[in-house]
Every structure is written in structure tokens, then in C-alpha cells.
Symmetry: C2
Subunit: 131 residues, 2 copies
DNA sequence: GAACAAATGTTATGACATTACATATCCTTG
DNA sequence: CAAGGATATGTAATGTCATAACATTTGTTC
């Protein structure tokens, strides 16, 4: 398994898992002050490792981080995110057809893809929120 | 046509068009000092309008902006970006199948999409670059 | 237990973006 | 044309996100 996290990694992971929504690195830091964390780098370093391990995803359009919805599948496949701008919740999904099409484009253009981001911002339709 | 840009909008547009690659707001600002621009907000305001008009796209994974490759089609359709991490060049493309799949997912999940980001980071295979 | 790799702690700084407020310009419409 | 509204501008200050550089500690391996 992947459970050999260091202290800081475990703290950050726990914070993100408990949040149920994306958090910024600085928000994570604020929530971990009492646990002894004091500098942004401590959080960013943990986030880097957790992201490498596939336990955390970075949402580019939010400059924030979210715990992977599939805690055990450190799949590095193509993941798409649907981000609700009302309630902040994120849904994670994969679509093989989308992946095939993007891979196909890349192949046709001799483009060697390293990382692909798909983020849909909108309204999840499930939240009755603060207006 | 769309040619009724204000002074600041025109300056920012010209800078971005001439660059042939994405620029950060602050880089644009630096290049427009001689034209009288002095504050980030002047650039950000112009970028907001140009983005609304579809003349400029924001690249979320880069925190940067690029002139639309199709200057006259202010299509607000789904656009994907392939960003070369070597040479910085960006290619812009659309894929109806990808759009249909993502629209389909949204429909099935009652998710009302407002804006979708697709960005592929990698190596364009066309650049022999600085190593 | 020496030596190396990995993780941590800390300070400072760099990079990206917005708030708040004042002023100016343009464009209606009576 | 004057009045009023909408849009664009100018400016300073501040807020938010991220990394560089360096010192120290911990963990592993032989």
C-alpha cells in the first residue's frame, strides 16, 4: 500500500480528505498551525509528494488541491474534474473516448503529452446555496 | 467587427498578438511601460474584456494569456490547448467528439457547465531547444 | 557508526491577482 | 446642451499563490 507517508504528508492528506472540497495550500497551512506547521513550503512539499503518489490532485483553474476521490487507485490516467462554483464540491471522472481523442490529436501532431488538465467549471445542480 | 477596442485593450492585444506565445499579465505590463501603463490592473482589465470578446484565452495551467489563434472567430466553443514546455508555443484545437462526451457527462449529472478548460502540457516535437 | 539520501525547518523573496477609491470619457436622452 | 448613467482609466495598497536558498535533522544502508 501507500500508507508510508511522512508526518507532514499525513497531516496534509488528513486535512484534504476531511475537507471534502478543494483547499488552497495556505488554507491547509492555517489548519495545521496547531500541529506545528509554520511555513508554506512545508505544505507545498507535502502536496508535491502526495500529487506524485496520485493521492491528491491539483486543480489548475482554482490554484487549489483536492484529495483524490479514488483513494486506492493511484491511477495516473486522464481525469476530468467538474467543479461547482456554488458549493465548491468537485466531481472526478474519466472518459476513455475523450482520452482516445486527445491521444489521437497528440499522435497526429507529434506532440508528446506529459500532463493533461480537464476542468469543467459550473453549477452542480445539487446544491441549494448562499445567494 | 470587433475592432472597437479601447486604447489599453488595443495595446494589450497588440503585445499578445506579437508575442506568438503566452505572456503573463506582468510581462505584458513590462512591455507596455513605455506606452504609459503603470499598474497591473490596467492590464488585467484589458485582458478581462479581450477574453470576454474571445480574442484572448487564459491558460490556467500557466497563469498566462495568449492571443486567439483564430482572430476572427470569436467562437465560444470548447477549445483545447497543447502547450509545449520546451519552446512555449501553444496550439489551439477543437474536437467535437470531446465536446459531445463532456456535454454528455454534464447532462447526465445535471451539471451546468459554464467554462471548460482543456490543456495538454508536453513537448511539441517541433522545437530543438535550449537544454 | 559513517555516509548518503530524504525530509524538515526557517527566512526571505518572487509571481500572480484584486480591492478600494478617485477621475475621466463617452453616450444617451430629455 | 445639460444631466445622468455606463464604461474606461489611473493609482496605491494589499491579498494570494509559490519558490529559492540555506541550515538541520532523520532514516537507511553498508
Amino acid at each position: 500500500m501507500s500508507a508510508d507517508l511522512t508526518r507532514n504528508q499525513a497531516l496534509v492528506m488528513k486535512t484534504l480528505s476531511g475537507a471534502g472540497a478543494p483547499l488552497s495550500a495556505y488554507t491547509i497551512l492555517d489548519r495545521l498551525r496547531d500541529d506545528g506547521l509554520r511555513a508554506p513550503l512545508q505544505v507545498y512539499r507535502a502536496l508535491d509528494k502526495l500529487t506524485e503518489m496520485g493521492l491528491v490532485h491539483r486543480l489548475e483553474s482554482l490554484n487549489a488541491f483536492v484529495a483524490c476521490a479514488h483513494p486506492n487507485c493511484h491511477e495516473q490516467e486522464l481525469i476530468a474534474f467538474a467543479i461547482c462554483e456554488n458549493c465548491g464540491k468537485v466531481e472526478e471522472f474519466s472518459d476513455q473516448v475523450v482520452k482516445d481523442r486527445l491521444d489521437g490529436w497528440a499522435r497526429n501532431h507529434r506532440f508528446k503529452a506529459a500532463k493533461t488538465t480537464i476542468e469543467i467549471r459550473g453549477d452542480c445542480g445539487r446544491c441549494e446555496v448562499k445567494s
